[in-house]
């Protein structure tokens, strides 16, 4: 308790904190992909550790205080870990027939829809991301939960409008698959672009395994 740090220590820690703040802002503008977030958190943890150890004197405190501080991280990690393992694994549910249930679908329409590229000309010129987020999650060349792209191509080779029509109001045609939900909420422009892209992709040979 009675440890007195020299003034220079405090100024040095202050300098380090300011430098790390500048660093985190700088790094935020770099293209690191998924690494951006862990890097920002690591810098924040480093700053927090400096404050705890030196400004809050934990470095010079009793073992009991150190244990308490360490326990905070443990509790916080439990809070995050347990919450995320629950919520983030909820979409994994599989029905007894081994197919992904349609229970996932409402999540797609409510949550994913807002994240889809806007129906602008630019976005629709390359509908691949939109396709991957919607039709593509079930319909691929190797899918076992829905008709494959090759099958779709055989059925609708030159009939984009039919694909759109089906996507708006799908019926249950095949016993072995779960029924497809309607995608009418995507809107005409997106559906047309998707149907065009789907048929064009279906015409290409399947990618090598």
């Amino acid at each position: 308790m009675s440890h007195i740090s020299p003034k220079s220590t405090y100024y040095a820690i202050f300098g380090a904190l300011m430098a790390l703040t500048a660093l985190t802002v700088y790094v935020a503008y770099l293209h690191l992909g998924w690494l951006n977030f862990p890097v920002a958190i690591t810098i924040a943890l480093t700053k927090a550790s400096l404050v705890v150890l030196f400004f809050m004197h934990v470095k010079y405190s009793s073992k009991l205080t150190k244990l308490l501080v360490a326990s905070t991280f443990f509790f916080l990690a439990s809070l995050f870990g347990l919450t995320m393992t629950d919520y983030l694994s909820r979409g994994w549910h599989t029905s007894p027939r081994g197919t992904t249930t349609a229970g996932m679908m409402p999540k797609l329409s409510a949550a994913a829809l807002a994240e889809l590229p806007a129906a602008t000309e630019q976005a629709l010129a390359n509908p691949q991301p939109l396709f991957e987020a919607t039709c593509g999650s079930c319909h691929s060349f190797t899918t076992k939960t829905a008709p494959t792209l090759a099958e779709i191509h055989d059925l609708y080779a030159n009939d984009q409008a039919k694909v759109v029509e089906w996507a708006k109001a799908p019926m249950k045609k095949r016993e072995k698959f779960e029924p497809m939900p309607s995608f009418a909420h995507l809107g005409e422009a997106r559906l047309q672009a998707l149907a065009r892209y789907m048929l064009q992709r279906a015409a290409e040979p399947p990618p090598a395994q």
């Binding site: 740090s5 503008y29 705890v52 501080v69 326990s71 995320m84 983030l88 949550a111 994240e115 806007a118």
Partner: protein
């Protein structure tokens, strides 16, 4: 005091868990929402708060070494920096009000904006609002401690209230150290690309 701080960490931790979950679910809205926040005001406030942690640490050090006058002065500087932070925060809130981006009170989405922007902004106001409330309480605590120091109540043998107030103030600083990157810096790189 440490046990109080630990429960405070868990209190903010719950909100941060909500932040994380919705960020994973709605990355687009998070990126949009964060782009709306002023990185200069946020960065300025970060510097102000780190500075106030330094002056707080100096106040505790002055109390440890029995310099009563210096303790009072450092505490007053800390309070002024805290006040600066709150004024800047108020300016930011006012911007949000003009944009009609205050969920529950004054909210309106422009065409093309994600509806989940409301969730980001709700968490933004919950997190920064509670943080600001902690600052206001901290300001009051520092005022009492400064008054006690001015009355020469502390000695190098007994300065516990100064130390406790310091721990609280540093904790509030740490909360902001996490809020700044989480709220202001989310996906800045992606926004530049678009």
């Amino acid at each position: 005091m440490w046990i109080f701080i630990i429960q405070e960490v868990m209190f903010f931790g719950g909100l941060l868990a909500a932040y994380m979950l919705y960020r994973i679910w709605y990355p687009g809205a998070w990126s949009e929402g964060s782009a709306e926040l002023d990185i200069y005001l946020g960065g300025f406030n970060t510097a102000v708060l780190i500075g106030s942690s330094l002056t707080m640490a100096m106040a505790v050090r002055s109390a440890q070494t029995g310099k009563q006058k210096a303790t009072v002065n450092w505490l007053i500087i800390t309070m002024l920096l805290g006040l600066t932070f709150l004024v800047v925060k108020a300016i930011e809130y006012e911007h949000k009000w003009e944009l009609r981006h205050v969920p529950g009170l004054n909210f309106h989405l422009e065409p093309g904006q994600s509806p989940q922007l409301a969730i980001f902004l709700s968490l933004y106001f919950a997190l920064t609002g509670l943080h600001a409330l902690h600052m206001v309480i901290g300001f009051g605590i520092l005022a009492v401690i400064a008054w006690m120091a001015w009355r020469k109540r502390f000695t190098p043998e007994w300065y516990t209230p100064v130390e406790m107030a310091g721990l609280y103030w540093h904790f509030v600083d740490i909360v902001w150290i996490f809020l700044f990157p989480l709220l202001y810096l989310v996906d800045r790189a992606q926004q530049v690309a678009h």
